[in-house]
Amino acid sequence: MPRPLVDPNSVFLNIPYDEEFDKLYLAYVVGLYQLGLVPFLASGIPGGERRLDRVLTLIRNCRYLIHDLSRVELNVASPSTPRFNMPLELGMTIAWAKLYPKRHTWFVWESEKYRMQHSISDLNGADPYIHEGTVTGIFSELQSAFVFRDAPPVGEMMKAYDLIERKIGRILATTGTPSIYSATFFKELCFISLDAVGISRFKRLQENQGVNLQWNLKGSKRLRIADADF
């Protein structure tokens, strides 16, 4: 079987899809775009393909794989069962990465220190990133995990996040999208995240250079110089 191509800046996000994770989900997507990376979600791939097959496709094609185990807990809805999807996908990732170690790097993210060492002791030695369940925690740990030459400070990432969070309700109402985890909304979120990246970096450029510039997503001549930095 020919080896699939790996997108060098791609990141597979293995995260829970529920309301309580909404803020962290937005933070992951916004933060990854701020670092020049491209997030992918299994639910972000439209189509009738079985979800497991979509997950496998992403694991094979993404260079980096983030597995957030902070919400592996008993489901409130009956029957009360543990949520095994995230650990299952982590297991698949580890097996695949063992076959192709130079092509994939996986990470485990948690909200509490030392919990992973108790819940999955097989992974002792693989230190997780601890975001403490907060948006700034996500940004801070992303900056620790991915060192990027032109990385914005966490404060700038928060501004981009705040801008998007203020607009989410309006975009959902306009598009009639039922869930922020749907394939349709994920694409919209990617687009507005890119716009927010441009806005926040442009403001930084303005502040640093003291020049009055207008951010235009279409790109002015002046913007094309800055575009190389994005």
Binding site: N9, E19, F21, E165, I180, F191, A228
Partner: protein, 70 residues
């Protein structure tokens, strides 16, 4: 602490990243217009609207967990 990954691969330009999303131009304009709208609501009204869609609590602070889908 895990070893950080140094991103050295070239970052794709913004415009081509947007193109890859394959979003119709009309939709792009619509969302850009929303992004550029001034925030006319008071902070309190915005907060109320957001709470209905996005949990205002950090995981762990809201003790009543919603039914989950994953």
């Amino acid at each position: 602490m895990p070893r950080p990954i140094h991103i050295t691969t070239p970052i794709e330009p913004l415009e081509s990243r947007i193109k890859r999303l394959r979003i119709p131009k009309a939709r792009q304009k619509e969302w850009l217009a929303i992004m550029r709208e001034p925030d006319s609501d008071s902070p309190a009204t915005q907060e109320i609207k957001l709470i209905s869609r996005i949990s205002a609590f950090r995981p762990g602070e809201n003790l009543q967990r919603a039914a989950t889908t994953r």
